[in-house]
Amino acid sequence: MARTIIPFGPQHPVLPEPIHLDLVVEDERVVEARPSVGFVHRGLEKLVEKKDYQEFVYVAERICGICSFIHGQTYCQAIEAMMNIPVPPRAQYLRTVWGELSRIHSHLLWLGLMADGMGFESLFMHSWRVRERVLDVIEATTGGRVIFGSCKIGGVRRDMDAGAIRNTLSELEIIEREMRDLTRVFLNDSSVKRRLSGLGVMSRQEAHELGCVGPVLRASGVAQDMRQLGYAAYGELEMEPVTRTEGDSFARCAVRCEELFQAASLIRQALGKIPAGEIGVKVAGNPTGEVIMRTEQPRGEVVYCLKANGTKNLQRFRVRTPTFANLPAMLKLLQQCELADVPMLVLTIDPCISCTER
């Protein structure tokens, strides 16, 4: 059968981010997908040679416009591990709260994009309406909506007083109620189920071998979540990874829906037992050594590899983002799929290409 190559992206109605795929099709069936990225490559890893390690927190936070806070947090944790900086417990709890608020807004953003990709416009608008409430809480507690600027090496820049904690908890109650209405549609609506069930099935073994991370891995039955490592305040909070066993697009959607409530529970737990005290310590000197730090972003495990030689500039700064780890799985899922399913399969891994480009 004759083969045709169909270019997909970097500009495409369903693509929130610039990735280009050459889809090799036979009739309506995709037989191969060849990716190319680099459209927004910023060379941030190289920038470490020009910015000193303290300034670089701002750069790390700007790697991603969605999961910005956790990027900054992971960078700070890596430097703190290298320099043996004891971060005050209150700062660890605040980092956890803001990290989980990030997760909620990122998952709601994805749910909206998914609904939009399916043509379910009202569901898309409701998802983003609820997300606005989360952004309002973030703005009230950090001053920023997308870039929080709250994390620094040695702690955090802002505290939450009793009033802010009370307001956050009462807002969280409303957000949770609205998320419940929203996820009821995602999980029970027949058109959503028919569009996603059985689409892009990946077994547990395949997900592991393809190096998947985050909800993509957990939807195939692998209970791995970097928060279990116990960084920030996670070691003192109750949390079990959310998993499904079906391994299809619906399972990946269901995992993210359930993680919304898991994040809300973690925020409530953290604010309920947040200790009093300092929110930061003074940092002096330059880092030396090497460290690999892993945390759980909304899209999965992010890896920071830092190498320092005692000067104010790091020798190496490398980030492996969760989307990068999930790209081989996406390319595998695209093989032998119907052309009409390509947008859903691309969205199903929640791609953040700008993050990946760094």
């Binding site: 060379g43 730090m293 780890a325």
Partner: protein, 139 residues
Amino acid sequence: MNPKQTLEVIDLNALLKGVSALRARGARLVQIGATTLPDKFELTYSFDVEDGLASLRVEAPREDPRVPSISSIYGCAYLYENEMHDLFGIKVEGMALDFHGTLYKTKVKFAFGQVKAPAAKPPSAPKAPAGEPALAGVA
């Protein structure tokens, strides 16, 4: 907070054997990263193992760096290896899927393969229009 991490420096010839041993233990490939040093490239292969993170490190020369691909052991490694080629100029031999330098569309070829970016030139002084004396203090 950060679980057990091990780093083993091995010879380039022992890379495939080391990676195969980790695969046999059921390890997940976490990342492959390169660092440009003045006299060599340092490549780190990290794996998620049952009790933490295990990393293997090999070194490659600056001149004509070549490393064997591990994509026959870990299929998903091809993406990291293409990245290593496109950003650092390291030739990875035997990749399961070779994009031939088209994965990253960067303006500067092998941008990360240089030790340090060249220092920016200081801005040149504005030229005085013909017939007028140059400004004081400006050469």
